[in-house]
């Protein structure tokens, strides 16, 4: 008896992929349908049609009743306590009160369309496990896939950042060569890093947001908001479009997606857990055993000048 795998392999090899013309035609038709669909969504009712409908006295009366009822329903809807009326400021308030948080950040970046000839794009993806403990302790365990500019081969790099904003110190651990670097920065004003996304960097007040309604995310009912980017400034790290989904009950983050409008990069933050006990050792600035301490590069010492002997 012949083994089944051979037949399975043959079936997999049975390909008909069509020629370039076929694909060009199908894609063009699909794109045309897409254009038409978008135009239909945006297209207003033509004046002739409206005039015909509104000629009748009955339809005018019916339209008036519909408008009055609609206004009444809208007023009731806005004034009742529903998810859609949840103010974004309320979400920010809840987020500012958290003691600890852990989450996963997934990032992707793609080369720009107009990359000059011969230029090398160092992009890739990363998965970052993040932890925050009030006040001002952060840890990020990053696995980054990058294209090596020399060999152009993708490689995986692991890095650990431990940040103490109280002391203005950041420890960088490189497990690949077992080295540690302790950098300094300006200590002082700090907040939960997740709130950086929500607050205007200059005035520190919650940004404007529009409701995205509700949907189920990770098995929970979530309320969505889209942050409206201000023309006068930029967020500390978020993109052109930032969608935030919070738990309908706790008002705490469930998912956050942010990215460039042209789709060149995006971050997704998920798997959030709040107010759980996190061991202090996670945020220790002492390098683990076996790590060799390196002297940080001069630019990272600019805030705290080196001591004179």
């Amino acid at each position: 008896m012949r083994p089944a795998e051979n037949i399975e392999k043959l079936i997999k090899a049975l390909r008909y992929e069509g020629d370039a013309e076929t694909h060009k035609r199908i894609l063009a038709n699909a794109l045309q349908a897409l254009d038409e669909s978008q135009e239909q969504k945006l297209g207003p009712i033509g004046p002739e049609r409206r005039k015909t409908i509104m000629n009748s006295r009955i339809t005018r009366t019916a339209a008036a009743i519909v408008i009055v009822v609609g206004v009444f329903v809208a007023i009731c809807y806005i004034t009742r306590d529903t998810h859609s009326s949840v103010a974004f400021a309320d979400v920010v308030r809840q987020m500012q009160q958290i003691r600890t948080a852990t989450w996963t950040e997934i990032g992707e970046s793609h080369p720009p369309k107009n990359l000059p000839q011969g230029a090398i794009f160092v992009g890739g993806s990363h998965i970052r496990r993040c932890a925050y403990k009030a006040p001002g302790y952060e840890r990020q365990d990053t696995t980054q896939t990058l294209v090596d500019p020399q060999t152009r081969q993708p490689g995986e790099y692991k890095l650990v950042h431990i940040i103490d904003r109280n002391m203005g110190k950041a420890l960088l651990l490189n497990p690949r060569n077992m080295t540690a670097t302790l950098n300094s920065f300006e200590a002082g004003a700090f907040q939960n890093p997740l709130c950086d996304v929500f607050l205007c960097p200059t005035s520190n007040v919650p940004l404007d947001a529009q409701s995205l309604g509700t949907q189920e995310i990770a098995g929970r009912e979530a309320i969505g908001f889209r942050l409206l980017k201000k023309n006068d400034g930029t967020y500390p790290w978020s993109g052109d479009i930032t969608d935030i989904w919070v738990d309908a009950k706790t008002r705490l983050l469930v998912m956050l997606e942010t990215g460039a409008a042209d789709g060149r990069w995006m971050f997704r933050l998920k798997d959030f857990a709040f107010n759980q006990e996190l061991d202090d050792s996670l945020f220790s600035l002492d390098p683990p055993q076996g790590y060799r301490m390196l002297i940080p590069p001069p630019e990272s010492l600019s805030v705290e000048p080196p001591k004179q002997d």
Binding site: R15, I26, N29, G263
Partner: protein, 181 residues
Amino acid sequence: MLEDRLLLWRFKRGSKDAFRLIYEKYAADLLTFAANLLGDTNSAEDAVQDVFISFAKSVGPFRLRGSLKGYLATCVANRARDYSRRTKSRQNVAANKAARAAAHSRGPLQSAIYGEQLEKLSGAMTQLPYEQREAVLLRLQADLRFKQIAELQKTSTKTAQSRYRYALDKLRSTLNGEVEK
């Protein structure tokens, strides 16, 4: 998976490039799947086109639950059933085209032997009952799990597995010694 979600995310925000990338990523596989399922390249092209047009129109409310390829393949399978009822008579032409295309992708020395096997196989495929052919192609060319195939065929997982197994047995006996060990 993440790449698909990223593409969908971009497409939902109006990126035509993202739609093009989705098309370029999956169109060839879907066309192969449809051609083998229907045994007719014209109907296969129409089915794939219909699916991408519907997909373009429905992406607003669309939410991906499994893999994007699985979703699109399921759409093609559904569409193919409609075409299958209309175009039963034109099957062998496309199946043989698919076999020849696969054979030519090999070296010249092997392609004659290999092409013969594939032509026999594609001929044998058209002789299978539609549900069995669909189960085999959904599993091997669209990478769907038996549970997903069962959902599509509105039957139990065991029946989907049996259809797959019966189909392979029939193909094996039809080829009868033509498949290399």
